[in-house]
Symmetry: C2
DNA sequence: TATTGTTATACTCTATAACTATA
DNA sequence: TATAGTTATAGAGTATAACAATA
């Protein structure tokens, strides 16, 4: 190694970044989403679409706007998402009985089957990704910590 | 509350999502980046640009590609980033002595001052965002956990 | 007046491919 | 042949503004 490129050959020093939760959150999330996309490539949905399905499954009958707000998205972004999930026969729009402006979202039977398959896949993915943690207690602690960080 | 919209008035049940590290990572990271952007609106840089600056500061003389790889970005994305930071007089390209294809990146004096200001702002932001955690030990534990999750 | 779903639009981020000059 | 920087481009994702129907 010649003296003049000594620096360039050393390993990168992350300096301050290594102590910044915001940066470390981003790297961890990028890793989760990249592997998620691989695991889900055959099912044809993104992490964002899975979140929509999971929320409709747990909260049948909600409006598009309610689901969007719960996910922190703008309601305009829900249109394409629900269009796609309706084309995939996973969820369906039904006219709201109490408000003719809005639709209520429900799972289809196909959607329930799909959700069962996808959920198992998600939990397997989670298990693999969190295998570096000590035990279930540590995973629970991490989940609780992340929740407080998003409030 | 009328019986037919009982469900719609209840609070959202996050169901499975609440147990999914990938989803909780995303929400936490979105919160960090949104508040970061507010805090940095007057300085004119995004979280991604701050990461570039921090890495150049800790690793002067590296090439664009080296910085990009360290951040997990494509090298093509570095062009606009370095263009902008060079226009802001924060970092500068210098011709590499050993390889005429590449540039070495260095901080300017303005850049060093800027970094000092920005770093303080970042650490203040971090402190506020992690104030919900018990102590410094818990922050360190979180940082270490997040690091293992991104490998 | 306010809200729901919708469309159009724009802006950022990211990824890919191809080009040039060097190695 | 391979690599560094660059350009063009295209695809997500996201946010804003406006509109029609309805509240």
């Amino acid at each position: 190694m010649s003296p003049e490129n000594k620096d360039a050959d050393n390993k990168i020093d992350y300096g301050l970044l290594d102590k910044v939760v915001g940066y470390r959150l981003r790297r961890a999330q990028m890793n989760f989403f990249a592997t998620f996309s691989e695991v889900f490539s055959d099912l044809g949905i993104s992490p964002g679409l899975f979140a929509v399905i999971a929320l409709v499954e747990s909260n049948p009958g909600r409006t598009q706007t309610a689901i969007a707000q719960a996910l922190g998205n703008d309601r305009s972004a829900m249109v394409a998402a629900v269009d796609k999930l309706e084309k995939m026969k996973i969820i369906e729009r039904r006219p709201s009985k109490s408000d003719r402006r809005s639709y209520a979202l429900y799972m289809t039977q196909t959607g329930n089957d799909f959700f069962k398959t996808a959920s198992k896949r998600v939990m397997d993915h989670e298990k693999e990704m969190t295998s570096c943690l000590k035990d279930e207690k540590e995973v629970a602690w991490l989940l609780e910590t992340l929740r407080t960080l998003s409030d």
